[in-house]
């Protein structure tokens, strides 16, 4: 079995994650993750949640530095933004990717490390600001540059900008739509959004089908 993630405290916060200052402290990142995670928790309709409020925060990531994580969180939130349903941040996509890069998907570590660095430089060169501080619409436009290979080429080697962005899209989808046992899809956020029964209970389905004598 996979290890379970630390469950964040439950609040009613539904606001978009605040932009991070440059050189943010570790504590800020933890807060950001916590706030971001609450959308799904608040939507869980009173599911029992163990809180860790007031306790010392554990190291938040296994693979990413805090700076890398805050940048990736912002990218993932662009890929699946919060609206009236939870987004990538709420669903814990960052934890899915972070955990898998330390496990089953370790072969992609280099693409993330290099790609995030190239992307950080791309944003500074184009906007003179970190991605996380850009308005949402500007963030979208910047990622469209990557998608179509139009970001400054001299900042990208291996991975290429498209290779990097395609991988992040795929992993974001996995984290948002995959089983919660891998760290994402917190509280079955995507299954709720799609109206899919969850979890898939064998006995329940058996009797519902009416086929079992």
């Amino acid at each position: 079995m996979e290890e379970s993630e630390v469950t964040p405290p439950q609040t009613n916060g539904q606001t978009a994650p605040p932009p991070l200052p440059v050189g943010h402290s570790r504590r800020t990142v933890v807060k950001l993750v916590v706030i971001g995670a609450t959308g799904a928790a608040a939507g869980a309709g009173g599911a029992a949640i163990i809180t860790h409020r007031g306790q010392a925060a554990p190291a938040p990531y296994r693979f990413f530095s805090e700076g890398e994580a805050s940048l990736l969180i912002a990218i993932c939130e662009q890929i699946i933004p919060r609206d009236d349903a939870p987004g990538a941040t709420d669903a814990g996509v960052i934890h899915y990717i972070d955990r898998q890069l330390s496990g089953k998907l370790a072969r992609h570590q280099r693409v993330y490390r290099q790609g995030l660095e190239s992307f950080r430089k791309t944003c500074l060169q184009i906007h003179k600001k970190p991605f996380e501080e850009l308005p949402f619409a500007t963030q979208t436009e910047t990622l469209r540059l990557l998608e179509s290979g139009r970001a400054p080429k001299d900042l990208w080697g291996s991975p290429s900008q498209q290779e990097f962005f395609n991988l992040v899209i795929d992993h974001t989808m996995q984290g948002f739509y995959g089983s919660p046992r891998h760290g994402g899809n917190r509280e079955y956020a995507s299954y709720r959004m799609l109206g899919l029964a969850y979890p898939n209970i064998i006995g329940q389905n058996r009797y519902a089908s009416g086929k079992q004598g």
Partner: protein, 551 residues
């Protein structure tokens, strides 16, 4: 202590190996079945789409794993890339007791009579090694019947005018159609087509001690928690074990077939679950490890008489790798088509398998298996946004309002589509790995274009609001329907085995899996692999009773 010699050692516990094991054990032969994987475990893989044999983002639940296995993909430009089992270009099927049948969608197709004589029906195709099978549908019919009755098939062909003749009805009634199918059926009938229920290796009623299907949404790509889906692991292999003549050894990776100086197979060398070298001597060796791994094993079995691999004096082992290019059409609908019930696919047509003007062969069309949320992320019309709010809106709007009609085209054998062994890359046991090279035959694109347009017309007639086709690229085809690499034939110069799966040049070495298929039909190949394995086993039993193969 060495294992005592047995009558037969079988490599690979999938569809073919399970059948031969059971047949020989029942006939009184002592049998050892070696399987590199483990018995499939349902409970570790419940409803986890990322660890499904269909979308193995985090690995294959039913093997092989990404840690110990790898292959080399050789590109046309000479570059190579090492690929892992969870990557598409590995062309994986499975690695567990049951093989692909532990987690497949379980369609139970017989090939049609014309599928066994494509060349004589249509003539040669340029740059293709197209050939007739050395056996006919009529010869195989009793073995199809045996497969259907021993494994359990639910079906009803009363409305399918295209199938080959059958002596007995299906052992179980067909499954009812799902919502998506009913939407398509009305359109098909308006167009004068002939929809009928997809035959399934899955219990519609309790059968052979296994219960009826409970329609889990996590069906295709997963093992069945109640064994309603028939695989070799819950049908023939348990029967083989019950004879007392059979031993199944799991976690055993076979490195080579031992061939002596007289050109006779003596047994196999393998690594057991603890990684220890072992030897199993046998009177007969049967390889049923899938079209890629069977070819690899033969090629890795070098001896004085066969410096290029067992049975490979003519350089045909590993050639003609085929699978199934899937083509079809998607449609978005106003009304909901989704049902929370697996495996989905219930209706098919065979109107386009043969008799298509100016074309060689064709393929069936069926409504697609259930689409789970992650898989659905990649199902988009051309030009549709892949991410952002548009992605989310698309998922919400269309996840339950999407129809797909899709089918496997009958591929043209291509001599240069090939499994060889890599000169440098090895697996964790030090055994040279599969090297995959070549492309599919270009004719496939023509056939794919034809069949996808037929699907598109049906989905449009159904009244979908938006329709788009899905077609093929030229990439190598293999994957779960892999076939063709040790084809059977009457001419020892252009085939690897005779019509009984017996390697032409090694009398007591047999093959019983999709490798034997000369062509792979316009249908899922599992039932044909099973039927051909019964056919091969029948020949071995007869010869054995006549005193053959004993050392």
């Amino acid at each position: 202590m060495p294992f005592p010699q047995v009558n037969a050692v079988i490599v690979g516990a999938g569809a073919g190996g399970g059948v031969v094991t059971k047949e020989l054990a029942e006939a009184g032969l002592s049998v050892v079945l070696l399987e590199r994987g483990d018995w499939p475990r349902y409970d570790e893989h419940n409803d986890d789409e990322l660890v499904s044999q269909r979308t193995p983002a985090l690995g294959n639940p039913f093997g092989p794993d990404d840690t110990h296995y790898r292959r080399v993909l050789a590109n046309a430009d000479g570059s190579t890339r090492t690929v892992l089992p969870s990557e598409g270009s590995y062309n994986n099927n499975a690695g567990c007791v049951g093989g692909g049948t532990a987690s497949y969608g379980a369609m139970a197709w017989r090939f049609m009579p014309q599928d066994f004589r494509l060349k004589s029906t249509y003539g040669a195709v340029k740059d293709s090694t197209l050939e007739d099978w050395p056996i006919s549908y009529d010869e195989l019919e009793p073995f199809y019947e045996k497969a259907e009755y021993e494994w359990g098939v639910a079906g009803d062909y009363s409305e399918n005018p295209f199938a080959g003749p059958r002596k007995k009805p299906f052992p179980m009634p067909a499954f009812p159609h799902n919502r998506e199918a009913n939407m398509l059926i009305a359109a098909m009938k308006r167009m004068g087509l002939h929809p009928f229920p997809v035959p399934m290796l899955r219990n519609s009623v309790p059968y052979n001690g296994r219960p009826a299907c409970i329609h889990m949404r996590s069906c295709v790509g997963f093992a069945c928690p109640i064994n309603a889906k028939a695989g070799s692991q819950n049908t023939v292999i348990p029967v083989a074990l019950a004879t007392g003549n059979c031993q199944v050894r799991t976690g055993c990776v076979v490195a080579e077939i031992i061939v002596d100086e007289k050109g006779r197979a003596r047994g196999v060398n393998y690594f057991d679950a603890a990684g220890e070298r072992q030897k199993q001597l046998a009177d007969i060796v049967i390889v049923s490890a899938s079209a890629t791994e069977t070819a690899r094993l033969l090629l890795n079995s070098k001896s004085k008489l066969f410096p290029n691999g067992a049975g490979n004096n003519n350089d045909w082992v590993g050639r003609n790798l085929q699978g199934h290019g899937y083509v079809g059409a998607w449609g978005l609908t106003e009304e909901e088509s989704y049902e929370e019930a697996g495996p989905g696919a219930t209706v098919a047509i065979s109107d386009f398998n043969h008799g298509n003007a100016g074309l060689v062969g064709g393929g069936m069309l069926a409504n697609e298996f259930i689409r789970l949320p992650y898989l659905f992320c990649n199902i988009r019309p051309p030009g549709e946004a892949r991410w952002g709010k548009a992605h989310k809106d698309y998922q919400r709007r269309n996840f339950k309002r999407c129809v797909r009609l899709v089918g496997p085209i009958q591929e043209m054998p291509n001599f240069t589509a090939r499994v060889s062994v890599d000169p440098t890359v090895k697996d964790d046991w030090g055994i040279p790995v599969c090297r995959l090279s070549g492309t599919r035959h270009s004719y496939d694109l023509q056939l794919g274009d034809f069949l996808s347009k037929k699907a598109e017309a049906i989905v449009k007639e159904m009244g979908a609001t938006r329709v788009w086709r899905s077609g093929l690229g030229m990439g190598l085809s293999g994957g779960q329907h892999q076939a063709g690499t040790c084809r059977m034939g009457n001419d020892p110069n252009t085939s690897v085995t005779n019509r009984f799966g017996q390697v032409h040049t090694v009398d007591n070495l047999f093959i019983a899996d999709g490798s034997l298929h000369v062509t792979n039909g316009g249908f899922n190949p599992a039932l044909t692999i099973v039927a051909v394995a019964y056919w091969v086993a029948s020949y071995i039993k007869t010869e054995w009773k006549g005193g053959k193969f004993r050392s």
